[in-house]
Symmetry: C2
Subunit: 231 residues, 2 copies
DNA sequence: TAATATTATGAACAGTGTTCACATATTAAG
DNA sequence: CTTAATATGTGAACACTGTTCATAATATTA
């Protein structure tokens, strides 16, 4: 009996239509400015119908954020890029973080939703769901560990701190770009490249860092409980 | 006749009450979650009354952003800090950017409104009004120029690029903190300090940078016309 | 064909930013 | 002191928002 299967396919199709419409509208108009009614109109359903597929507008965001992490998630693919397979580990680090920055260009709204926007439901609410995203961070730490093992970064360096520093730098450039704080002539790509090289040079220089290593929970997303700075 | 003066004082008092209420509510609940009605209720006025003082909710934000820039604006004061008066120029750079980061801690909502949030009216809409904020950036560039002149940074370094790199790094840390992307045990202060030292070390290392110098319009806020990524 | 489970809908609720005619003071002029 | 003029605050309303729910329509099963 393929009827139940077809039912599930139909549901999946509508669900996809909702997500596609929501994504397109978010990319075009920003999360805050997209209403359930607009999404409903786009897919020619009633606003209430959407609530048969997603319990809330927040949940539509979570579904899209998951897609976003999987889109970005191919730094794992970068890791297996044949061209980079036998490149120096430091080049792979460069590639991974460059991809992080490029993602902020290619998918600015995804990036903003995932890493910047504060008026968006906190991903930490869905702790389990985004476990795979935490694993990505762990991979990067391993790559950095490889750099240290290969002697391309000082042995005294904490790979977790290095990951944070690189993330912070490129995130900063991305935010400057996304929040339109760069002067008209400024090239954010060049700035991102400079920040990447600058931070790597700083890491190589072996300055004494203060941040303690974090072996446990070395990930972006905090534990699910706290919500101190509630909105 | 002090009657007109008293009138102006009265208006100023109500205006201040609105801003104070708005600021407190923004700090407590976030810009997006504060309604004109909530502000009105707080000051025991009708919602419509507020529109006699500010033409829109956006304009309340602009007024607060201006306050925020003036609060932060004391890196100019840092510049004249007697303790730093005869300190090496590089230490004054450190102080200025550390203050930038500290501001993100002490006034997280101000900081978010001014530098991060994208669901807030673009400051570039009020180009003239925030000219003084652009001057602050110029001061920092001058400080960096002094570092180069003093031989504490390479002569090949473009001070404007250096400013951007330092801004990006600390902005990144601030965003990591504000968007709650740090693991529970992570200390963002230490990370900020590390990023600051790391970037300075990178700058000292004299890596070849690509970003071209920008003598004209070397400021955060773009020209007032463009609004391509409209919401 | 009749009963049953899904699914979509219109209407409504409580909230939002904003506008506007109207009432209400407060000041200036006669 | 009374009257005209000028601000200033208000309630009601408009067009939105996210969300809920009883009802209607549909498709599947018996």
């Amino acid at each position: 009996m393929g009827i139940k299967e077809r039912h599930e396919r139909d549901r999946e199709a509508v669900s996809r239509a909702i997500l596609d419409a929501a994504r397109e509208l978010f990319v075009a108009e920003g999360f805050q400015n997209v209403s359930i009614r607009k999404i409903a109109e786009r897919i020619e359903y009633s606003p209430a119908a959407i609530y048969g597929y997603f319990p809330s507008k927040d949940d539509i965001f979570f579904a899209l954020a998951e897609e976003g992490f999987r889109l970005l998630g191919d730094p794992a693919a970068v890791r297996q890029d044949p061209q980079l397979q036998h490149a120096p580990p430091i080049e792979r680090i460069r590639a991974v973080f460059w991809r992080f920055y490029e993602f902020s260009r290619e998918q600015p709204q995804y990036f903003a939703l995932m890493f910047v926007d504060r008026s968006v439901p906190r991903i930490s609410r869905e702790y389990e769901r985004f476990a795979f995203a935490r694993d990505l961070k762990q991979h990067i730490v391993e790559e950095l560990r490889a750099c240290i093992a290969a002697g391309e970064l000082p042995a005294t360096l904490d790979p977790f701190v290095a990951m944070r520093a690189l993330t912070a730098g490129l995130l900063g450039v991305a935010v400057l770009r996304l929040s339109e704080r760069l002067a008209p002539g400024e090239n954010s790509d060049l700035l991102a490249s400079d920040v990447l090289n600058l931070t790597l040079a700083g890491l190589r220089a072996g300055v004494t860092l203060q941040s303690p290593a974090r072996v446990d929970c070395p990930l972006d997303i905090p534990a699910p409980i706290a919500d101190a700075q509630a909105s």
